[in-house]
């Protein structure tokens, strides 16, 4: 299944380019999870904050992996908007609007899982559309890796019950500020 939101608009032509995309995906993931962890901390949702912080650490390890794979190669230097994600966002970035201050760990993992699924779709699309054999081979490796992440997250998610309807109820009205 191809995800039209995060697939690249063009076919990836070299492993350097694919690594650059891969690195961007992981960097944006770290950025997003760090921001989400901060958001939860400032709203005293420490369980979910810890979970996002862990996810940020894990994504950080992925950056290391990609960096290792890139050793000796010269990756293209692209600005955030120069990556041609079909829908504008990298598979594991953006989607900040899915956060909620009362969200449960289950939601946090769901949010991460959706990102990883988009990543799987992204790399699969690359493998299907690239005419460079090395790119295809690397993309398929990355598909396998991202699928592992999805599986891990699904296992992790099972440890938490799916929150029931009304999980986001708050009896207090919003606060008035300035």
């Amino acid at each position: 299944m191809n995800d039209p939101v995060s697939s690249p608009k063009h076919s990836i032509g070299s492993t350097e380019e694919l690594l650059a995309y891969s690195l961007a995906i992981e960097k944006e993931a770290v950025e997003r999870f760090t921001d989400l962890a901060d958001q939860m901390e400032i709203h005293f949702n420490y369980d979910v904050a810890d979970l996002f912080r862990k996810l940020a650490v894990i994504e950080g390890l992925h950056i290391e992996n990609v960096s290792k794979a890139s050793e000796g190669k010269e990756l293209p230097e692209l600005l955030a908007w120069e990556f041609e994600w079909a829908g504008g966002e990298s598979p594991e970035g953006g989607a900040m609007e899915d956060a909620h201050y009362l969200m449960h760990p289950w939601h946090a993992i769901e949010l991460a899982r959706q990102g990883e699924k988009r990543a799987v779709a992204f790399f699969r699309h690359v493998a299907e559309t690239s005419s460079d054999e090395k790119v295809v081979a690397m993309a398929l490796e990355l598909v396998v890796e991202e699928e592992e992440h999805v599986e891990l997250l699904e296992k992790w998610q099972k440890r938490f019950p799916k929150p029931e309807e009304g999980w986001d109820d708050d009896l207090d009205p919003p606060m008035i500020q300035e």
Partner: protein, 280 residues
């Protein structure tokens, strides 16, 4: 912009101050903060050569969250403050940020005249069509039939303010609309806005998940405009006036008016020279 002393690449996170935002999780402003840091990183600006100026409101909290210089001012006056700074210090890259209430209601007059004056700065308005910090009253951009505002329980019944139409008519030199859910598109528009000389106006549709939860739908409804930016103000006006739902995004107008910047070159060496005109 002006600080042409580009620096070594600083990752977007390097432009964050480390102070954790107090915005509601899910708020579009988090994404705008991300986009702004991406734009600053893309332009390779030294944080100390950038000043973020704001007024009052949720989105006006922005300066605190950045590692640049910042000024969190009084309600509605960000553009006046930014004008003073930019005119006195043309070497600084000045960016004003704020919301629709701050910019178009209490600050409406400054908005008109800052567009007119065309000082070289960028204005990012996070438009959520509501006053968030005071608990969800209707703002100038709220639809007339929105009935959840406690001060206007039967809806405002009055036409929403059209920020981009007003900006164009008043003389803004660069006009764009973005959606906060498109963080990279927003980053690019902000970067172009900063780079373009004169007054650049960037409206970012940024949902208020607390008082306007239905705006979460903006992510699906906003879409890139089918045409490119124009330098023809008449064409831009036609596009805006025929824009049905105001949810098209992209750079609309790129003008070429020269920015307002008085020269700061003294013609006398000593202030005592000024005494001459008073001598009898």
């Amino acid at each position: 912009m002006s600080s042409d002393t580009a620096c070594a690449l600083i990752e977007p996170r390097g432009y964050k101050s480390g102070v954790k935002p107090v915005w509601c999780p899910g708020c579009g402003d988090y994404s705008v903060l991300g986009s702004l840091t991406k734009a600053l990183s893309g332009l390779r600006l030294q944080p100390e050569n950038v000043a973020i100026i704001s007024g009052i409101g949720c989105s006006s909290r922005m300066p605190t969250y950045l590692s640049t210089y910042g000024f969190h001012g009084v309600h509605g006056r960000a553009l006046a403050l930014a004008t003073g700074l930019k005119v006195a210090r043309p070497d600084i890259t000045v960016i004003a940020t704020g919301g629709d209430g701050d910019g178009f209601s209490i600050g409406g007059n400054h908005f008109l005249h800052t567009c007119r004056r065309n000082t070289d700065m960028t204005y990012i308005v996070m438009d959520n069509q509501v006053y968030g910090m005071t608990k969800g009253q209707a703002s100038p951009t709220t639809e007339p039939n929105w009935e959840k505002g406690k001060l206007t329980p039967s809806g405002t019944g009055i036409n929403p303010f059209q920020p981009l139409v007003i900006a164009l008519a008043s003389g803004a030199n660069f006009i764009a609309r973005c959606s906060s859910s498109d963080t990279n598109g927003t980053a690019r528009a902000i970067m172009e806005a900063i780079r373009h000389p004169g007054f650049s106006m960037v409206q970012v549709l940024s949902p208020c998940v607390t008082f306007r939860p239905e705006q979460r739908e903006w992510k699906k409804l906003t879409r890139p405009a089918p045409v490119d930016a124009t330098s023809d103000a008449a064409r831009a006006a036609r596009r805006l006036l025929t824009d049905e739902d105001g949810l098209f995004t992209g750079i609309l107008y790129v003008g070429d008016r020269p920015p307002y910047q008085p020269q700061i070159e003294p013609s006398i060496d000593n202030i005592a020279e000024l005494d001459k005109e008073f001598r009898l």
